[in-house]
């Protein structure tokens, strides 16, 4: 394995560079996935059948909490990668842990939000609108859940093996993923919640 020391650790081997490039392509596919979900959401936005509309069930408080938690987690993972570039393993692990805790907080609020919707009669099978709403939010939520376990296994590996080209590469790719989820959330916040409440 040839290591190029002029590059950051996560880019230092050929394999690492390939993985980062490949992951960007994967994110391209993810953009298409969420674009399809959003397009479909706009189709169903007013197809509420006998169920409630967005304006009737959306509440700003949990949504704002979720937004703050997720945006903060995107910031902390950025700090984590910065620490990684400086070679500060401990700081990096701390920031990654904070990121995951914030992610967990986000999930907590989202689950609370879902339970409220179902209590208010906006379940998965109520109408085209609620099916689509819960599916779009749920797909994002599943991504965060998956990301939580992924991040956890990366922290464990960094702890066990230290900052190697391999673990740095994994951490960097994970940070790309996490930022991406944040971007998706900004769209959800603007085009589902704000648009729905207006």
């Amino acid at each position: 394995m040839k290591i190029d020391h002029s590059l950051p650790l996560e880019y230092s081997t050929e394999e690492n560079r390939l993985k980062i490039f490949g992951f960007w392509i994967f994110l391209g596919a993810e953009i298409m996935l969420f674009a399809t979900l959003f397009t479909s959401y706009f189709v169903y936005e007013h197809r509420t059948g006998n169920g409630p509309s967005g304006a009737e069930i959306f509440e700003i408080t949990p949504v704002l909490m979720e937004t703050i938690l997720l945006l903060a987690s995107s910031f902390t993972i950025g700090l984590g990668i910065h620490a990684m570039r400086l070679g500060k393993q401990k700081a990096m692990m701390t920031f990654f842990s904070v990121t995951l805790v914030l992610g967990l907080g986000f999930l907590g609020f989202e689950i609370f939000e879902f339970v409220t919707y179902i209590h208010e009669g906006a379940g998965l099978s109520t109408s085209g609108f609620t099916s689509m709403l819960l599916t779009t939010l749920g797909t994002h939520g599943l991504h965060v859940t998956f990301g939580f376990f992924w991040g956890l296994s990366i922290i464990l590996q960094v702890k066990k093996r230290g900052l190697t080209p391999e673990t740095a590469n994994k951490s960097f790719i994970f940070s790309l993923y996490w930022h991406f989820l944040d971007v998706v959330w900004i769209f959800i916040f603007s085009f589902i919640y704000l648009k729905g409440m207006m």
Partner: protein, 648 residues
């Protein structure tokens, strides 16, 4: 016993019971055979766990040929049922199941793996790489495709086949009208195979962008590699749409969501829209690599550079972009209004322009060439006129006003078979003949090969040209029978005879493989066709590491220039080569995917949860696993090289 009732076939017939017995006996025979010849170890070590792109390619090829057989049997059944008026061979339900599985199997489980075979086998060799960018991911892609295909194929003996057409439109595919688990099979088996395809897309884009031989610029890549790149870009942008669509369909059927329901705010038209937002690019995913293969074959056997290299690339890029803006031409009659129809009419017709550019480029490549009519070239020569005919009827269908006459008739069926068979299937079979010596070290028999081509074309013309006529006369597609008074009888009989001739042609292909294995001369050298690109510059059979020394490329046709103009492509000395390790994980994980899919289809939730945990467990295992690959030492490479050189 209630639990087991769900596995029963809802509309059993003698044919299905016979198939059950045949499948059971075949499986037992294969298992016994492997055990008797003590091949389990070999199978596991060399094939099931391999990450070598060439072997994965060959496994794709075997799957594609098997599926071609299965889809072909379906086709024969369909044509036999329609051969005479008021036929009683198949009942309507059975007919619905057969045309649904024929479509899905041929597009997704025959044509797709066939192009995957060419991606896998050819692309790394053409760009002078040692493997794809992510060899293990490549194995996962293959095994997910394979398990998806197998899951789909067991449907007709366990629980019932999908019966809502290969497009599976809602509300027909919903629980109200499709009561068997057949449509669950459709949703979940294709989902599993689709994930594999998406990963292939990511893998090959990375490979082509990042792993080309030193000196090979993008505009110096062989045309097949270009077509593979464009095709994989379409895969990455189109397949996520399918993922979402199938997930929505699955949830409608299993969890009672209201996406495509008739009331409660559902929108069944969204299925049709999203299906074709994926489905139309999908046909370009298939046809572009076919164009790439024809470009290679035509320039090899015309002994000329490909005419208009740049316009070939540009036309593919334009086609790939347009492919995302034509989807509504599949349902002009569903009432989206004149403006939308006009827009999609124009975009659809516009695609004929870049396609026409390609046709003329091939013709100009032939112009003043020293044409040699080998079997692959014969496929290409039959492709040009037949495909052009299909393209022209495509432009007819693109006119939205006129489409009201053609829509959902046999005219449409004739059109798309007219582009898929001479386009995709001829390219696949021609390409197979072309690359066969590189894979196995001997040629397929030319005489039998040419018979195959001629029979295929005669059969094709007899089978599909009559459908244009009956379609214009009003014979609807997917109609399981018709009365004698319609007058469709004689032409349908001709079509049946044509289908029979095509079946004979396929049998001849199989016989050719058998015959050539036995009698074809070995020692054909590395370059039996006198070809032009890098894959012919390495040894036959191709060693594990592809190239002992990385090739240096200066032109579009590196190997041809090496032969004719004395460019040296293999400079430098042999160094140790880093190779990825084999792994059983892709196979095991895909098997668990199979179980997961099966338990979802039959709503066996505990098993679904357990298998889902198993899949996640495999991912965690992979994350923690330390796998740095291995090195092939210089001595071993030199030994292999000497041996292969001696074998020439």
């Amino acid at each position: 016993m209630d639990f087991f009732d769900r596995f029963a076939v809802p509309h059993p017939s003698f044919l299905i019971y016979a198939s059950m017995v045949a499948i059971g006996l075949t499986v037992i025979a294969v298992l016994v055979g492997i055990t008797y010849f003590k091949k389990w170890d070999y199978l596991w070590r060399e094939w099931l766990t391999t990450v070598d792109h060439k072997r994965i390619g060959i496994m794709y090829l075997i799957s594609a040929l098997l599926m071609l057989f299965r889809g072909g049997v379906d086709a024969i059944m369909l044509r036999a049922q329609l051969a005479i008026p008021d036929n009683k061979l198949l009942e309507s339900q059975h007919y619905n199941e057969v045309f649904s599985t024929h479509g899905v199997v041929m597009i997704l489980f025959m044509a797709m793996p066939f192009i995957m075979f060419f991606f896998n086998f050819v692309v790394p060799l053409q760009i002078g790489a040692r493997d794809v960018a992510f060899p293990r991911l490549n194995a996962i892609s293959f095994w997910l495709f394979f398990m998806g295909a197998m899951l789909f194929n067991i449907s007709f003996v366990i629980g019932g086949s999908p019966d809502a057409g290969w497009t599976s439109y809602f509300p027909l595919a919903g629980n109200d009208f499709s009561t068997s688990v057949g449509s669950n099979y459709y949703m979940i088996a294709i989902q599993i195979a689709g994930i594999g395809t998406l990963m292939t897309g990511i893998n090959f884009i990375t490979t082509i962008f990042k792993m080309r031989a030193p000196g090979m610029k993008l505009m110096q890549m062989p045309m097949f590699t270009w077509s593979a790149l464009i095709s994989n870009l379409i895969i990455v942008f189109a397949f996520p749409v399918l993922t979402v669509l199938l997930a929505m369909g699955t949830m409608d059927r299993l969890f009672d969501t209201k996406f495509f329901a008739i009331g409660d705010g559902g929108s069944d038209m969204l299925w049709a829209n999203l299906f074709w937002v994926w489905g139309h690019p999908e046909v370009y995913i298939l046809i572009l690599p076919a164009f790439g293969l024809f470009s290679e074959i035509i320039s090899t056997f015309a002994r000329r550079n490909l005419y208009g290299y740049k316009s070939m690339v540009a036309s593919m890029v334009v086609i790939s972009a347009f492919s995302f803006f034509v989807w509504a031409h599949h349902f002009f009659t569903m009432g989206q209004g004149a403006l939308a129809n006009s827009f999609f009419s124009i975009t659809t017709m516009a695609i004929a322009v870049p396609t026409g550019v390609k046709i003329f480029n091939w013709l100009f490549t032939l112009w003043k060439g020293k044409i040699e009519f080998t079997t692959p070239m014969l496929y290409a020569m039959h492709f040009l006129p037949l495909f052009t005919l299909g393209g022209v009827t495509g432009v007819m269908l693109a006119m939205s006003a006129a489409d009201y006459q053609y829509h959902n008739t046999m005219f449409l069926v004739a059109h798309f078979h007219n582009v898929i068979i001479p386009g995709v299937v001829y390219a696949m079979l021609g390409g197979l003949t072309y690359y066969w010596p590189k894979m196995f070290g001997f040629m397929l028999n030319e005489r039998i090969g040419k018979w195959t081509v001629w029979l295929m074309s005669i059969g094709f013309v007899l089978a599909f040209i009559p459908m244009y006529i009956t379609g214009l006369d009003g014979q609807a597609r997917r109609m399981y029978t018709y009365s004698e008074a319609t007058g469709f009888g004689p032409l349908n009989m001709v079509a049946f005879i044509g289908a029979g001739i095509m079946a004979i042609s396929f049998a001849l292909l199989v016989y050719n493989i058998y015959y050539s294995v036995r009698y074809s001369p070995r020692n054909i050298g590395n370059d039996p066709w006198n070809a032009r690109t890098l894959e012919w510059a390495t040894h036959t059979p191709v060693p594990e590491y592809n190239f002992a020394v990385m090739p240096q490329v200066k032109s579009t046709e590196a190997f041809w220039d090496a032969k004719k103009n004395g460019h040296e492509i293999f400079k430098g000395k042999i160094e140790k080569i880093h190779m990825p390790n084999s792994s059983g994980l892709p196979f095991i994980m895909s098997c668990i995917f199979f179980v997961f899919g099966f338990s979802m289809i039959f709503s066996i939730w505990p098993l679904a949860i357990i298998s889902l945990l198993g899949i996640l467990g495999c991912l965690v295992y992979r994350s923690f696993e330390k796998d740095h690959g291995h090195y092939i030492p210089v001595e071993e490479i030199e030994e292999t090289e000497t041996k292969l050189r001696g074998a020439k």
